[in-house]
C-alpha cells in the first residue's frame, strides 16, 4: 500500500479538516486495522469454541493450541445430546420454550402498557410512570431467596413456570415501548379513531401495533437473548431436575470429577448457535435497540 498522506507532516492539516466532527471524517487504514483487530478478538473465542467442539480430546491439549477445526463435531454433539442425566436435548427445547413465551409476553404486555402511558389520559399516569422508571434500576436478582420461597409455595420450583413467571414483564419494555409509541403514533390518528367510536383495544390493534413493528422486533430480540442467557435463577430453581434450561445443562456438563473439554464445548457451541443465527438475521435491530436505549 503506497500512502502519500502518511508522509505529510501532521501540522499541515488544514483548518477545515480539523474542524470536522469525527463522524464527518473518513476512516483511515488505521481505523480499519484497529477495527479488524477488535473484530478478531470478539470472534475468536466463538471460533475457538467451534474448533474444540469439533476436535478429538488429544487435539485439545496440544501445544501450541490447535486453531484448525477437526472433523469430530457431529460425533461430539451426538455424545452430548445422548448423555445421561444432563438432558441436553431437552434443555435446548426448554430454553426455546422459556425464551419464546417470555418474549411474546413482554412484547404484548409492555406494548399495551407503553401505549397507555404514551397516548391515553388517565389519573395518576405520571406518578405511575415514575414508578416504572424507578423499577428500571432495581436489580431483581436480589430477590432470589424470597422468589424461591414464593415459587415453593406455588409449587412451581423445578418447573419451567418458575423461570417464565418472573420474566413475563419488564420495566425496560414498558419504558422502551412508551418512548417509541410517543413518536411513532401521531396523536391525531388516535384521536380521530376515537371520534369514529373505536374502543381503546381497537386503536391498539389497528393503529398502534402496525406502527410499532420495528420496536417490537428490537425489544423481542433483546428479550430473547437475555432470557436465553439467564443462568443464576434457572440454576437455583431447576438444578437437579429433568427440566434444565440449556445454561443449567451446560453447568452440569462442566461439573464432575473428569471434565471432557471437547464435549463441554460442543455443548457450549450448540447453546450459542441459536443466538448467532439471531444476530445474523436481526443484528441490525439489536444494534438499533442498544443504541436507542442509550439515548433515553
Amino acid at each position: 500500500m503506497t500512502s502519500t498522506t502518511h508522509a505529510a507532516p501532521r501540522r499541515k492539516r488544514s483548518l477545515a479538516e480539523i474542524s470536522r466532527a469525527p463522524s464527518e471524517s473518513r476512516g483511515t487504514w488505521k481505523t480499519y486495522l484497529l477495527l479488524t483487530i477488535v473484530l478478531l478478538v470478539s470472534a475468536f473465542p466463538i471460533y475457538w469454541m467451534f474448533v474444540i467442539a469439533s476436535s478429538t480430546e488429544e487435539a485439545v491439549s496440544k501445544v501450541p493450541p490447535s486453531v484448525i477445526p477437526g472433523a469430530q463435531l457431529l460425533a461430539n454433539l451426538r455424545e452430548v445430546f445422548t448423555l445421561q442425566n444432563v438432558y441436553f436435548t431437552a434443555s435446548l427445547i426448554n430454553s426455546f420454550i422459556v425464551a419464546s413465551v417470555v418474549t411474546a409476553s413482554v412484547l404484548f404486555f409492555c406494548s399495551l402498557a407503553g401505549f397507555a402511558f404514551a397516548k391515553l389520559r388517565f389519573k395518576g399516569r405520571n406518578a405511575l410512570m415514575v414508578v416504572v422508571i424507578l423499577t428500571l434500576t432495581v436489580p431483581n436478582q436480589l430477590g432470589v431467596v424470597a422468589l424461591y420461597i414464593l415459587m415453593g409455595k406455588l409449587g412451581w420450583n423445578g418447573t419451567l413456570l418458575a423461570v417464565i413467571a418472573p420474566g413475563l414483564v419488564t420495566a425496560f419494555g414498558v419504558f422502551y415501548m412508551r418512548q417509541f409509541i410517543m413518536h411513532a403514533v401521531p396523536d391525531e390518528l388516535v384521536e380521530s379513531a376515537r371520534m369514529d367510536g373505536a374502543l381503546t383495544l381497537r386503536v391498539y390493534w389497528s393503529i398502534v401495533l402496525p406502527a410499532i413493528r420495528p420496536a417490537l422486533a428490537v425489544l423481542g430480540l433483546l428479550t430473547f437473548v437475555a432470557t436465553w442467557n439467564d443462568f443464576q435463577w434457572p440454576l437455583i430453581t431447576l438444578n437437579g431436575t429433568e427440566f434444565p434450561t440449556s445454561m443449567v445443562a451446560l453447568s452440569d456438563l462442566a461439573s464432575g470429577n473428569y471434565v471432557i473439554y471437547r464435549r463441554v464445548l460442543a455443548g457450549a457451541f450448540a447453546a450459542t448457535v441459536p443466538l448467532l443465527v439471531l444476530l445474523l438475521i436481526g443484528g441490525r435491530q439489536i444494534v438499533r435497540g442498544i443504541m436507542e436505549g442509550a439515548l433515553k
Binding site: 477488535v38 391515553l120 447453546a271
Partner: protein
C-alpha cells in the same frame, strides 16, 4: 408532526342502541387505560417487587431449607453474623477486585472503539454487529471456553506467556491465586461487555452537534484532545449511565466466577474462595448450606452496597467530567 398516515381506521360504529354505546364508550375512556397497564403492574408486583420486600422479612427470620421447624424471628442475628463472617468479607473483597479490573478497562476500551466507529466507514452495520458477537454469546458458554484458555496445563494463555519467556517450567495456575483468577475473570467480563458499551457511547457521540467541533478547532484541538476535551464531556450523561449499569451488573457478578471453577456446582469460587463473589456466596449459603435466612440478609447487604457504590460512582463520574450541576 406531520400526519403521513392519512387513511382513517375502518369505522367500527355499529348500529348499537346509542345509549348503550355511549355507556360503553365512556367506560372505555375511563377504565381501559388502567386495564392496559394492569398486567404489567400485577406481574411486576408479584414476581419483582414482592420478593425484594419479602426478602427483608426472610432476613429477619431463621429460615432453613433442611430444618423447616426451626423458624421464628431472629431479629438482627443474621445481620450481626455478617459483620464477623470472614467468608462474606472475603467475597466482598473479591467482588470489588474483579469489579475494578473489569469496569475500568471495559469502559475505556469501549470509548476508544466507539471513537473508531464514529467515522464514515464502509460497512458501518457490519462493524457494529461484529462488536456485538460477545454480547449475544451466553456468558456460561464463553466462560467454559475461557476456562480452557486459562487452563494451567496446555492452556493458550500460558502458551502465549511462554512465548514471551514466562512460566515455561512452572506454568501459571490461573485459578490458584487471587490476582491471577481475578484477572482471568475480569478478562471474560471485559470481553463480553466492551462492544455493548461501545455502541452506547457511539450512539451518544452521534448526537453531538457538529458545530461544537468547529468551534473547538479554531482553538487548535487535535483529534486526541478532541476526544477527551469535547467528545467525552459531551457524552457525560451516557458515561454516567454506563458506570451505573456496570456497577449494578459487576457487583452481582455470578456466571463467570461460577463456571470458571473446576467444580462449578460447588459455588465455592476456587479451592479457598479466592474468587468467590457475593452473588456466589449467596447461592452457596442459600442452596448448598440451605440457610435461606442468612442468604436473604446477604442479599440485602449487597443491595445496600450496590446503591451506595452506584451513587458514589455516578457522583464521581460527574465530578471528573467537570462537575456541571
Amino acid at each position: 408532526m406531520t400526519l403521513t398516515r392519512t387513511a382513517p381506521p375502518r369505522s367500527v360504529a355499529r348500529p348499537d342502541p346509542p345509549k348503550q354505546r355511549a355507556w360503553l364508550y365512556r367506560f372505555d375512556t375511563k377504565r381501559a387505560p388502567y386495564l392496559l397497564i394492569a398486567p404489567f403492574f400485577l406481574f411486576f408486583a408479584v414476581f419483582g417487587l414482592f420478593p425484594i420486600i419479602f426478602n427483608g422479612i426472610v432476613a429477619l427470620r431463621n429460615w432453613r431449607l433442611d430444618d423447616p421447624d426451626k423458624d421464628g424471628w431472629a431479629g438482627f442475628a443474621n445481620f450481626e453474623k455478617l459483620l464477623t463472617d470472614t467468608d462474606f468479607w472475603n467475597a466482598l473483597g473479591n467482588t470489588f477486585g474483579i469489579f475494578l479490573l473489569s469496569t475500568i478497562p471495559q469502559l475505556l476500551l469501549a470509548l476508544m472503539i466507539a471513537n473508531l466507529l464514529n467515522r464514515k466507514l464502509r460497512g458501518t452495520t457490519f462493524w457494529r454487529i461484529g462488536v456485538l458477537l460477545p454480547y449475544v454469546t451466553p456468558a456460561a458458554a464463553s466462560t467454559l471456553l475461557f476456562s480452557v484458555f486459562f487452563a494451567r496445563d496446555n492452556g493458550m494463555a500460558n502458551w502465549l506467556l511462554s512465548l514471551v519467556g514466562f512460566g515455561q517450567e512452572n506454568p501459571l495456575d490461573w485459578r490458584a491465586d487471587k490476582w491471577s483468577s481475578w484477572i482471568a475473570i475480569a478478562t471474560m467480563v471485559n470481553w463480553k461487555w466492551i462492544g455493548y458499551n461501545a455502541l452506547l457511547y457511539l450512539s451518544a457521540m452521534q448526537s453531538i452537534p457538529k458545530d461544537v467541533y468547529e468551534a473547538a478547532a479554531v482553538d487548535g484541538a487535535g483529534p486526541q484532545r478532541q476526544l477527551w476535551q469535547i467528545t467525552v464531556p459531551m457524552i457525560q450523561p451516557v458515561v454516567i449511565f454506563t458506570v451505573v449499569l456496570s456497577t449494578i451488573g459487576g457487583l452481582q457478578l455470578f456466571n463467570e466466577p461460577m463456571l470458571f471453577d473446576s467444580n462449578p456446582t460447588s459455588a465455592s469460587g476456587g479451592s479457598d474462595g479466592q474468587f468467590q463473589t457475593i452473588a456466589q456466596l449467596i447461592y452457596q449459603v442459600g442452596w448448598k448450606n440451605l440457610n435461606l435466612g442468612y442468604a436473604a440478609a446477604m442479599s440485602w447487604a449487597l443491595f445496600l452496597i450496590i446503591l451506595i457504590v452506584a451513587g458514589l460512582n455516578a457522583l464521581l463520574t460527574n465530578r471528573l467530567g467537570g462537575g456541571r450541576r
